[in-house]
């Protein structure tokens, strides 16, 4: 257990820290972009789906940053610890921070005295934001280019602004329209993308 703690701490220190700092700025300056006072359910959903959603992209996309350097990746692969054991603590860390951020925003909105269903919005937000983040995660896992990860995730977000109808049950911004049933698809999508991201990444690498 201690081993994972150490490796993850090194990851945070060397690569992840600036991203966490950005998340902090994202939270601190949120008041300038969104309002937390007396929100109706559609408005509360909008805050989550259109603003807080970026936290998912920001947290899950850069998890493979150390391995962008092929030499580091090869070196790590030569060690006894399996790669997924290296990735898993990072994913859990990102997940933890993500849940904290979402819950914090929810707390702010509840304190602002809104009129919406906290439970279903929270569930939907967790799943949707995780799903969006896992898209960035998957893209950067497969291509080993963090920039591509961000690109795909941001493109997915933008496409949903006008073209959600093409994406079926995986479309974002559903809760804004009062549709709360998508969370299970988002959750399944996220789990599938997170798991297959790691698998595809290491498989491809093994073949050379």
């Amino acid at each position: 257990m201690e081993k994972y703690g150490k490796v993850t701490a090194s990851f945070v220190k060397r690569q992840y820290f600036p991203h966490l700092l950005l998340i902090l700025l994202f939270v601190v300056f949120s008041g300038g972009f969104v309002s937390f006072r007396g929100l109706e359910s559609a408005q509360a959903a909008k805050v989550m789906e259109m603003y807080v959603a970026f936290a998912g992209i920001l947290l899950f996309t850069p998890l493979f940053m150390p391995e962008q350097d092929r030499e580091i990746w090869d070196l790590e692969r030569s060690k006894r610890t399996a790669m997924w054991q290296l990735y898993l603590p990072r994913i859990l860390l990102a997940l933890l921070v993500c849940i904290l951020v979402i819950s914090l925003f929810m707390g702010l909105m509840v304190r602002g005295g809104g009129n919406f269903d906290v439970g279903s919005l929270l569930l939907g937000a967790y799943c949707e934001i995780l799903f969006l983040g896992s898209i960035g995660f998957f893209a950067s896992a497969v291509t080993n280019q963090v920039v591509v990860g961000y690109m795909i995730a941001v493109v997915y977000y933008v496409v949903n602004i006008g073209g959600g109808q093409y994406l079926g049950r995986f479309a974002l911004f559903q809760m804004m329209k009062g549709e709360y049933g998508s969370w299970i698809y988002w959750l399944l999508g996220a789990v599938a993308l997170l798991a297959s991201g790691v698998v595809v990444r290491e498989r491809v690498r093994r073949r050379g």
């Binding site: 300038g32 972009f33 309002s35 109706e40 591509v148 961000y150 690109m151 941001v154 493109v155 073209g163």
Partner: protein, 412 residues
């Protein structure tokens, strides 16, 4: 030497994954968005139609009536849209603030809020709310008349108070309502507009403006990634040292690289523009005029080129300066802010990065706004040039410092 470097850079762009994604996303986005605006729907107006679309009027009375109508709806829903930092922010008022807003409204109209609500319901009741066109017409026709003797100056003061309640960047800002009010067109106006579309815009130019409207959205975002990934590539491939030791000047290296990326980014834009324009060239013929065949070059050239230029140049500059992907966060925030920041989707250019024109036509309105629009585009063009000059300076500085300006160059 410059030409050779340019073509080699183009080849590099072609081989990059980010560029491939750019082309696919751009083409899919544009074709799916534009599919609703086919040439078939463009018709000359006939007398006796119930609705001819809308136009923008700048008459003071109309502005007051339209803005107050808007105010009635906003108070009623207690859902206020503002863009304080160019980014959408929904605002709701407390009960006390709502009462204050109602009082201001009553001062302007001389009628209590309840009466205004009844009038509103009466107005919308006249229309068939199931058709989009009728709904548009209902919205465009909705007016709330002011109290007798109520002056424009008084109106301005009242709106200032509303702004005090809802915060910055709402539709009640002077700069916002001054833009004008949407009014329904009569047959005469519609005919006039259509003639302008044919004569002044020769059909294709108007259509290309709509193309630019959609393309401008994605082009505020996608080139960021192309630029960041190219500028970071040197560091990732560990070629900086050897490049630095060559006689080629930083200006040559950066400018040829920039132009190569710019040209490659522009190719799919102009190609799709050319292809999408063809049905409208044909359509123009059926109206008995020759469409402007060069519109696919001239309109996006002015509209989109400065935007692509500045987005790409800024991503080069930030990335060379920091050697990180921070440009992605800064510029995506700017772009998304600009997308949500447009309070009207036609006109309202000001200094926005993304110039919206979500309509086919309104030629006369565009003519009246053209000067401001060109100023906006010239500004971004110059900004891009400045960014590239700065990038060259940064590059030369890195060269003399032995590598990155932010990372430690501890290697000895």
């Amino acid at each position: 030497m410059f030409g050779a470097l340019f073509f080699k850079e183009c080849k590099q762009v072609l081989k990059s994954l980010v560029y491939f994604i750019y082309v696919v996303v751009f083409v899919l986005f544009i074709t799916s968005q534009m599919s609703g605006d086919s040439a078939v729907r463009l018709q000359a107006p006939e007398p006796g139609q119930s609705y001819y679309g809308t136009t923008v009027a700048k008459d003071e009375t109309l502005i007051m009536e339209g803005t107050l109508a808007n105010l009635v709806e906003d108070i009623n829903h207690n859902s206020w849209v503002t863009y304080p930092l160019g980014f959408y922010k929904g605002v709701t008022l407390t009960d006390r603030e709502t009462e204050q807003a109602k009082a201001i409204l009553e001062r302007c109209t001389g009628k209590p809020f309840e009466v205004l609500l009844e009038e509103m319901a009466g107005h919308f009741g006249q229309y068939d709310q199931s058709s989009a066109e009728e709904m548009d017409a209902a919205q465009a026709n909705y007016r709330v008349s002011v109290k007798e003797g109520f002056t424009y100056a008084e109106f301005e003061a009242a709106m200032k108070e509303i702004c005090g309640l809802v915060g910055k960047g709402s539709a009640y800002e002077k700069s916002s309502y001054e833009y004008g009010i949407r009014i329904p067109m009569t047959y005469e106006l519609a005919k006039e507009e259509f003639d302008a579309l044919c004569e002044k815009d020769r059909v294709t130019r108007a259509y290309m403006r709509l193309f630019c409207d959609y393309a401008g959205i994605v082009l505020a975002i996608l080139p960021i990634f192309v630029g960041v990934s190219r500028a970071l590539w040197d560091r990732r491939a560990k070629v900086q040292q050897v490049m630095f030791s060559k006689p080629a000047s930083g200006a040559r290296i950066i400018v040829s690289r920039y132009l190569a990326n710019l040209v490659m980014l522009c190719i799919p834009v102009f190609v799709t523009a050319f292809l999408l324009q063809q049905p409208f060239c044909y359509k123009a013929q059926t109206f008995g005029i020759r469409g402007d065949g060069m519109a696919f070059l001239t309109v996006p050239g002015v509209w989109l080129l400065p935007e692509i230029m500045v987005v790409l140049a800024l991503s080069f500059l930030i990335t060379e300066l920091t050697d990180t992907i921070v440009a992605v966060f800064v510029q995506v925030a700017w772009a998304i802010g600009s997308i949500f920041g447009a309070d009207v989707l036609v006109g309202d250019f000001r200094m926005r990065l993304i110039a919206r024109w979500n309509t086919l036509g309104q030629t006369t309105l565009f003519s009246s706004l053209e000067k401001g629009f060109l100023q906006n585009r010239a500004y971004y063009f110059l900004l891009a040039v400045v960014c590239i000059i700065l990038t060259v300076i940064v590059y030369e500085r890195k060269r003399r410092k032995g590598g990155s300006l932010v990372w430690k160059n501890t290697e000895r």
